[in-house]
Each structure stands twice: as C-alpha cells, then as structure tokens.
Amino acid sequence: MHDQPSVIELLQAVKNFINDTAAPNLTGHAAFHAKIASNVIDIIMRDISARPENDRREIQQLQALLEAEGLNDLAELNRILCERIRTGEITGANDDLMAHLKAAAISQIKVDQPRYSGLKTALGSDGD
C-alpha cells in the first residue's frame, strides 16, 4: 500500500483542521469537544507508534508471570491474571506481579496522558 500521505500524516492533517479551522469557529460545549477531539488524535498517534512494542512486552511479561509460554492472546492473558488475583493465587506480595503491573501502567499512561502527574510519581520512585 502507498503511504503518501501516511496514516500519521493524515491524522496530523485532521488535527490541524480541528485546531486551526474548526475550533476557532466553535463556542461552548462544541469548542470543548473540539479540544477533546484534538487530544484524541494525539492519543491515536502515540498508540499507533507504541502499541506493537508495548503489546509484545506485556505478553512476554504475562507469559512469564503466569507460566503460560504458549499463550499469545493479550486479552486472555489479562483475563487469567485477573482471575488469579481474584482467587488470591497471586497477591501484591509478589514482586514480579507488582513490577509487571507498574510497567504496564506506565506504558499505558505514556500513550493516554503522558503529562499526567501520576506518571512522574511512578517514574520518580522507580528511578527510571
């Protein structure tokens, strides 16, 4: 497939339209929604670039944590982890669990809201 423009470029063009053309002509609730729409484009762009590596790493960590080497379905791995936490099979006393959850939460917030204050707290205590 051609990529002139690429999906990232197309998203940037939509974001430019929202910010430079649409938003200045909107007021009240519609202007608020334009701001959200612009932020959503940023999330999409970060998600596209970060997801392959994030998912690969999350699957790897979950496979190790759950001793489920053959299983590659991220949703299923998370479902199993939730079940084991719920049954008490794995608890917060497990350092590997805590390290995994923290790493996954950091990756996610970096995509969703990289300026969120809780990310700085997480990285500060981590020395990362």
Binding site: G28, H29, F32, H33, I36, A37, N39, V40, I43, A75, N78, R79, L81, C82, I85, R86, G88, T91, G92, A93, L97, M98, L101, K102, A104, A105, I106, Q108, I109, D112, Q113, R115, Y116, S117, G118, L119, K120, T121, A122, S125
Partner: protein, 330 residues
C-alpha cells in the same frame, strides 16, 4: 422534543412565580451538564439565577447512584438553612411548570474550573484558605440532620465496593490493577465511623471559589448516608489535584489544615493516615466511573467524543493505584 419557545415561555412563568409577574428573564444560557442533567444560567431584571433540571423523558442512567432532583433541592435547602455555604433554593419545579424535574437557586459568583483556581494569582489567598475551609464546610455538612428528607440511601465504603465491583464485572473487562486494588480494599477496610450525610462529590469542579476561598458547595446529586472519611478522601484523589500532585487536598493544600478544622468542629481526632483507605477507594471508584462513562459510548447511548475519550482516563487511576499499592506493599 419541546419547542424552544415553549421552554422560554415556561422559564418566564417560573421567573414570574419567584420574583413577581413583572419580572422577566433577559437571557437564558446553557452552562454545562451531562447527558441527563442540565444547568442553565438565567439573567433576570431582579437577579441572575441557576436552573438545574432533568428534562422530561430522560431516565437515570443504569447503575446511577444519584438522588432525585426533588431530594437534591431539599438537601441544598436544608444545608443552606443550617449555615453551609450552599446556594439558596428559590423554587422547586412542579409538573405544571412543564420543565421536567429540577429547581431554581441563587447564582453564586466565582470560579469552578480547577485550572485558574490552582494557578491564577487572583486565587492565591483562596489556595491558602481552601484546605481549612473545606474541613469546616465538610464538618457542617456531616452534622446536618436530614431525617425529614426522603430518598437519601445509605452507602458504606464496603457497600460501594460491592456495588462498583458488580458494575465492573458486568462490563466484562480485565483490568488487573483494579482486581488487585479490590483485594487490598477488602482486606484493609477500616471499621466504619458513625453515619453522617456524605456530599459524595466534594472536589474542585463542584465548589464555587472566590478570591478569598470557598463560596458555595454545589452538585449534591451523589449525596448519601455514609462514613465521613469518604468526603475527606475523595478530595484527595490525585485526579482531583489537577496536576498539583504535591498538594494532597484538591491540588491546593496539605491535608493538616482540613483535618484540624474538621476535627475541631466535630470533636474527632482523624489523622492523615486515616484518610488513606478512602483515598484509594476514591481512585478505584473514579476509575470504574470512567469505564461506566466510556460504556455509554460503547453501547451507543452517547456517541460523543467526550464519552469515548474518557475511557483513556482509566489509566490515570491505574497509575495512581499502583503508586499507592506499591507503597502499601513495601
């Protein structure tokens, strides 16, 4: 859908009831509100007023824990009468008004948006005073006698955990941090304190703030009977610090002035660590509330970009919970 002219005529009649038939509304403007609830600013020849209403034909969202508009009006009125900084309720809508359910109250001047309150020089004194003022105001709210008001349910901390867990399970999503937080909340739940009226959503956004500090407590729709520490913990939730994470109370202050003022008024001896569990509960609840709001988009009941995007705010509660659980397990 009602004709807009009918809406204006109905507003005109209600304004006439309140201020006399010679007083007319000059300007009617929608301020904000969710899908089900509307807030309108109505300027009149007498004074500006606020209409809060749920239009006809709008039902409460599934799993809603909010009280009815009639109950909210009664609570706000009781609070104002008892000296709580709350708007004066001028009129409660009846079926004959043809405006749905709701009430009209005094417009209180000030700012509700967190960003200027936490950052603008104009609110420097407010930031200095707010923590203590919140303690005083919550003490007054928690001392309210509401035995004569119907429709306020009792929700302990553990009952809320059960309720929000059921909602979370129904959605069929897998969020391991919510599961771990749920275990921790159940295992470390403190003994309940004596029941009080809990405001339920006491935080910036729902507080009218002027340059000297708190002007009015708004948005009482999540009020219930419960543990007083719930309100004290909710305003400490990191999402409600709006980036000023170093200031535990609302992003504007440390917790000590709030607790000192609160303890003094209520004869208690609550310490900062007594609020920890309730703060964690608040974060977990807010995370599930974000999922509920996203669910409205997913199910097609609210197709707005706002409802879609809030699903990506769930991760802010996850990072806050993991920060907190890490300290708890350390």
């Amino acid at each position: 859908m009602h004709n807009p002219n009918d809406f204006e005529k109905s507003i005109g009649r209600v304004i006439g009831h309140i201020f006399g038939n010679d007083v007319k509304p000059a300007n009617i403007r929608r301020l904000s509100g969710g899908a089900s609830q509307e807030t309108w600013l109505i300027s009149t020849e007498a004074q500006p007023v606020i209409l809060r209403r749920v239009p006809h034909g709008i039902s409460k969202p599934a799993n809603s824990t909010s009280i009815t508009m009639q109950t909210e009006a009664a609570l706000v009125e009781a609070a104002a009468n008892a000296g709580v900084k709350a708007p004066k309720v001028l009129y409660t809508l009846t079926a004959a008004d043809d405006l749905g359910y709701g009430f009209i109250m005094d417009y209180v001047d000030g700012e509700t948006i967190a960003r200027p309150i936490l950052r603008d020089p104009e609110f420097a004194d407010a930031r200095e005073n707010l923590s203590r003022q919140c303690g005083e105001e919550l003490a007054k709210i928690h001392a309210l006698d509401i035995r004569s008001i119907d429709g306020v349910s009792r929700m302990s901390g553990l009952a809320q955990i059960d309720q929000y867990e059921a909602i979370y399970r129904d959605m069929g999503v897998s969020r391991p941090i919510f599961e771990l937080a749920l275990q921790w909340l159940r295992q470390t739940a403190p003994q309940p304190l004596a029941d009080v009226l809990v405001h339920g959503d006491f935080r910036l956004g729902n507080l009218m703030v002027k340059s000297s500090g708190l002007a009015a407590v708004l948005d009482w729709e999540l009020a219930h009977i419960g543990d007083p520490r719930e309100d004290l913990g909710w305003i400490c939730v990191n999402s409600w610090r709006f980036g000023k994470t170093q200031n535990r109370v609302g992003g504007f202050g440390t917790i000590e002035p709030m607790l000192e003022a609160y303890n003094q008024h209520r004869g208690l001896n609550l310490q900062p660590q007594d609020i920890d569990w309730w703060e964690a509960l608040g974060i977990w609840k807010w995370g599930i509330m974000c999922l509920i709001m996203y669910e409205a988009f997913r199910s097609g009941s609210d197709e707005s970009v706002e409802r879609a995007a809030i699903g990506r705010r769930v991760s802010e509660t996850e990072i806050d919970l993991i920060n907190l659980l890490e300290r708890a397990h350390a």
